[in-house]
Symmetry: C2
Subunit: 149 residues, 2 copies
């Protein structure tokens, strides 16, 4: 995994096996050195130009990849004991040139915006299954996080 500018956020280029019928796209195996635990796999669509933000989870680690379309992903570190408190991470995730796996540990705020002309599909293979009580949200227009969508 490649480190980002936020403590604990890392990313890994994923393999795409080209095929004229349609590609095969790797995401996560139990034998990967960065695999931790399987809790849940689910998908989130985001329509072109629209935003889903901000959310964070108290306990769940997110492993995100974008096999269809592309997004702008932004992560904000508000953890009081982090060496990178106050830092933003901003990247493109998806096809064709940014098919990477991003790991987001608990307690980081994150959000994303759909890029391109078609909906993007975000796959999340989290290390524990979703628990509504462990999840928090902030309005995307809040000035608490120094990023304008």
């Amino acid at each position: 995994m490649i480190k980002s500018n936020i403590e604990g956020v890392s990313f890994q280029p994923l393999k795409i096996i080209s095929d004229e019928r349609g590609a095969v796209l790797h995401m996560l195996q139990d034998s990967d050195p960065f695999f931790n635990n399987f809790g849940e796999i689910y998908f989130s669509e985001i329509n072109s130009g629209l935003v889903k933000a901000w959310k964070r989870n108290k306990k769940q680690t997110q492993n995100l990849a974008v096999p269809t379309g592309s997004i702008n992903l932004v992560i904000y570190d508000d953890r009081p004991n982090s060496t990178t408190q106050g830092v933003l991470f901003d990247c493109i995730l998806g096809r064709p040139d940014h098919y990477n796996l991003i790991r987001i540990p608990p307690l980081l705020w994150y959000g994303f915006q759909g890029l391109g002309d078609t909906p993007a599909l975000i796959a999340n293979c989290a290390d524990r299954s979703h628990n509504h009580a462990e999840s928090e949200k902030i309005d995307p227009k809040s000035d608490f996080i120094p990023h304008v969508w």
Copy 2:
């Protein structure tokens, strides 16, 4: 899980949470009664009208869902000790009306064809990671399996 006409093949309607920004689509959780083990999550694209067939795996159980587009999935039972040996199962999988999880146990032949105008994305959350030596193929034009693509 709902039984199919082939022994061991079952399917389950999956939840789609509608949202004007883009839907959230469930696939598989460790707490699901039909969850067995996590081996690997990967994706296979299939372009409109094209076919990926036939393949089978000696040990891996496939859990398939189609979060983007739709496909025609065909499964053939050639297992000598199966009560449904010689039976074909044929279904549509994908959006908008067939977002189901299909479980395919080892030793069944399967293949699929892309439907609609856009590429479909098949997600496979298998119970063990891929091992090339455990995988077998037959040409889609073979008359060994009584289905014409």
